[in-house]
Assembly symmetry: D2
Homo-oligomer: 373 residues x 4
């Protein structure tokens, strides 16, 4: 099989190249780049020297020569290629936001500033979060070529930390808060002030507080999962931060617990006390709920109690690590998830989607053992 990558010269594109070049079911690649057309991928990324060697061609040529096409393009420019792929009869896996909102063009327009070029394509598209939509992806793929709206990085880690609480009724109706910290690769390959080493190293800060495009995506995922289980979707507050590291997103998620899941408070004192045995037992019980929810998922790893999710333990892995905790008062569930933003948060998940569409083993090409450093 030939896998095509449009936008191969960006960070997500190059990560796709790395993974696809080692994928057991992919025979060769076809790479496209508008800005670097005419060059070679191994000259743009010398880490590929002597391992991966492909010219960077026009996107149209990539579509023509591929059996599946990945697009790692800016938002709002890839729809024509999606259309051509469908017409040619091959699937299109889009890492931009263009297909993440399905038919809800209004929300897309509100956050991304322009409408859909070919709105009708959404009849063939599905939001590619396997833990939410695996069945829809499979059903659609069984019927013909499909367009995947590959999820955003923050929404992936946030949603996986919230889903079990929604599905099982752990979550009360109160606002869910997602506090996330991302590594700098999330800012992409283009140098800019925010990702200039001297500005961001050895420092932490938030950005786009109350105004990040991934907020409506997480919110929509919450609503969809809640609907699946006949529950009401709680409101969401989301704050992204930039952390001085390369890969990884850590999301600390605060979910008010439904009354029946709260551990009894030590109400006689108003000042917090260290967690009681009862609280620890309740946390463990909730951890088991999470583990049961994800028991068949290859990439959602619910950690043993006491092991905290840590981005450094996941580099270059497609896992989403999940640790389940309670606050000392017993009424707030604190779920912490970690992903590699370039893997489960981008290229790895895109290949997961390809594996599902193509009927490959879901872990093909993305099953690497997480490295130590």
């Amino acid at each position: 099989m030939v896998a095509g990558v449009i936008g191969a010269a960006g960070y997500a594109g190059a990560e796709l190249v790395r993974l696809l070049a080692g994928h057991p079911r992919v025979r060769s690649l076809s790479l496209g780049s508008v800005s670097l057309e005419g060059g070679w991928i191994q000259n743009v990324y010398p880490n590929f020297l002597e391992k991966v060697s492909y010219p960077l061609e026009k996107p149209e040529e990539v579509v023509a020569s591929s059996d599946v096409v990945f697009a790692a393009l800016p938002h709002g420019v890839g729809e024509p290629y999606a259309k051509t792929c469908l017409e040619k009869g091959i699937s299109f896996i889009d890492l931009s936001a263009d297909f993440r909102f399905d038919a809800d063009e209004e929300t897309f327009k509100a956050w991304y500033g322009k409408g859909y070029a070919f709105a009708g394509l959404r009849k063939h598209s599905v939001y590619g979060l396997p833990e939410l939509n695996r069945d829809r992806i499979k059903t659609l793929a069984a019927a013909g070529p499909v367009i995947i709206g590959n999820p955003g990085c923050y929404p992936t880690g946030a949603s996986l930390g919230i889903f079990p609480a929604l599905a099982t009724g752990l979550a009360a109706a109160g606002t869910i808060i997602v506090n996330s910290a991302s590594g700098v690769t999330g800012a992409g390959r283009e140098p800019q002030k925010a990702s200039h080493f001297s500005e961001c190293s050895d420092s932490m800060s938030p950005y786009k507080v109350g105004a990040h495009r991934h907020c409506p995506e997480i919110s929509r995922n919450i609503r969809n999962m809640a609907e699946l289980f006949g529950r009401e979707a709680p409101p969401l507050v989301f704050t992204p931060h930039l952390a001085p590291m390369n890969r990884g997103i850590l999301s600390t998620i605060y979910i008010p617990l439904a009354d029946e899941w709260q551990a009894a408070r030590a109400d006689s004192v108003s000042t917090p006390r260290p967690p009681s045995g009862e609280i620890e037992a309740k946390a463990l019980e909730i951890r088991e709920v999470y583990a049961a929810f994800y028991k068949d998922e290859p990439f959602a790893r619910v950690l043993p109690q006491g092991v905290m999710a840590s981005t450094g333990r996941l580099r270059q892995s497609n896992f989403c690590d999940i640790s389940v905790n309670l606050d000392q008062g017993g009424s707030m569930l604190i779920v912490v998830t970690a992903i590699d933003n370039m893997m489960k948060g981008a290229a790895g998940q895109a290949i997961h989607n390809m594996n599902i569409i193509m009927g490959f083993d879901e872990t093909d090409g993305i099953g690497a053992i997480p490295a130590l450093f």
Copy 2:
């Protein structure tokens, strides 16, 4: 004046030495260390060579030769020195937790595992957060020698972000969530797995979720400030994280807004929309409330709207930077504070307390312009 430092060989102690050696009202230092007694501070910290040169003596000798004593000791061992200082008639500024809980020995015991050695000392002690207790510090100091319970690092940044909302009625009764990330100097000088470079660099993770000793301290500060203004204290959830940087604590604080302060939601759609002009106006209005609250404080810096608090902009400064934001729904106040954990979070604040006690200019010795990198 001679300033004494017990525990001078630890990180907080050495930062005290650096600051006191440059303090315009301090003539000389007297340094103590139990573990390194007999050595010299400039051999332990070669950055001091040719600038600071003092022997490390027994704590008793430091008390005997000083006009004020700072203690940067482990929790639970400094009370005898505090007692001796009072008897000698000099003030004692304690960077441990021993005097942070005033007469509430039960809470101290619950979190630190042992009771007070000399409970009666609390008649002479005060929690040294100037923005909360300046008047009490001054009153007590006017009456004789005083013991300062210098605040913990997380509680300083968290409390300063919450106080104006409590004092002015911005905060509703709902749970306040403090999500903090600390640099690794907060872990102190003793090598350990969590602060081993290969384990913590290029990585983020939480620790002691729902179980950190600074939780009851923040909670008590909230209660005290609420009481001052006749309001009810909201519950608190606090989660600390370790970030791959040296200095700094960033605290992202979620405060549910009282109804009258909420910006109108765009209720017709359930999916979040980018912040409206009304929300931006409301955020600016709340920012002015914060700025007014701190207008006479030398170290609380409320940032202009749109400038985000960032730990990298505060290194070696005693400022607490505060940025004020609203979520896109208009009902949650998101305050972000940044401090240098070794300065406003430890040694700088301790010297601020000394300045207040001694009647010096409050910024003496701790007024450095924040460096760029």
Copy 3:
């Protein structure tokens, strides 16, 4: 095949586990740890959870159940296991220094402080730098079980940068200087002051100047390669540094050029001038000499002219990247090599040795495409 790892709980051991667990010719592992015996590897390194699960057993049990044994132990304690392996008829790949000096016990003793336990084992041992000793490794392995003295991390990167210059007569008789910077994983898993984040992050410094144990190892490699080609071995100066990064060693190597290889100086001016076209042409010519020397080596990657060796481009790869440069005067060859110290500098090279001994494809299990970040 069962691969055994003694000392599996250290960093090099755990990296061996990660690689061997993904090795296509290894059926299962047997892991040993003295200090953590009774535990499980995935509890010591939670990155292994759901991917690798083995108990940590006594070293003797590992030897008993394995078909080949890797030892990642401190220097001077592994010889008895090597002896047992030979007696049992299986090969022993030692990552300590115990077998790096062959029969030269004097040098070993001078630098490591103790003599050999079983000196006679050196009849069956070989220094496992494939680019130097592949034939000897194969010959010895053909005759029976073999002991590999797996090279030190610095000596690997340094030697590969020097070999072609020695072999081809590029090097004059003058002193070769190796200036190396290592990531902190090289200091191992045990927390200590030098690898404490607050001490080493955002900072560079040298250590053991003129006194590092890898100096005699590099020097001996130089001598052996020079002898192979009937040349005199030049003297060596070696300085290691600690750099604030996790993986990687960058070695900048200064080799005085033999007269016939020098580019003509612009002798009319004593002040340096930018490199002339002639110097650039000569540098390219020498680059071709290097490329030819390594043309059949799977892990020595001579970079195109103008592409500089960079440790960040090699993370988790077994490549040694080599860039070839001339100083602006045309008389000094400046070779820069980069390796991942845990891969080509330790575990990767050990598995390369296993592949050679066992007759596997040399890249089996260690052929990963270098990641971008």
Copy 4:
């Protein structure tokens, strides 16, 4: 006194602002920026908020309103301002390369690509390395306004490590090698690929090998110092590297020792041995030569034997730390110097020059105690 800074919005300019705003002899500042004219310095660098507040004006206005002018401009554009300053009768301290090469326009042209605009200005200019040229600076300043060619960052650390060896005859005639690693602030404020966090963090690499503009500057310094003491100047090889840190340059300098200074080799073995007592004694002896050479210098700090120069120990200090070592063979002097590239390597040294010209105490405004982290 009013101090003017042209190019105040760049990193070196902003560091000048930070230092001058705290300088005891400077009453106020006048700041200029071509690209950000009309803005305010505290909006460009929010770390200055509430501490430093100045508009960014046209360079001509800065010259008109100042008593001394610093220029932190790109190479080749500042000469007209220097000319105007001289005409106005005030001194001009230039942080670009324009005045570093004195009358040697040929060398400047060869490396910087253009000639001098007003060559005659060099009659009034002096290379501002106080440890080399203090007397000339003072003599020139006594006669009227002066132009300072403030040294490059690498040349400062490199030259200070070499000078004592040249002056005292320690150095033989052989090539001196300077291997330097710089923090990323050295690349300036403009985002670019080399300083993009994802490209340079957690990684080391060299750049401009054999082709860096600071090579002729170091070489000229060597020649000038050698001439002062009637010695021959040895050739130079210089290699810069980029290290993943903010501030700091570490230079490891290899100086072949004159025969009479060599410690006796252990000639009976060709393989290196750990340093003998004789070598350690000789290293200490040479350390005393260095200490004596710099005994009156306020910013050259020769470290005690066994303490290694480390950039992390010098952040925001104007010191140049120097450690003196011998290789294990006793014939190569290995001097390691560390500076803060923004201080002694740029803005700090510029202010040192101002202090000398103006007759202030040389440490005024730049005497901060080095911080711990």
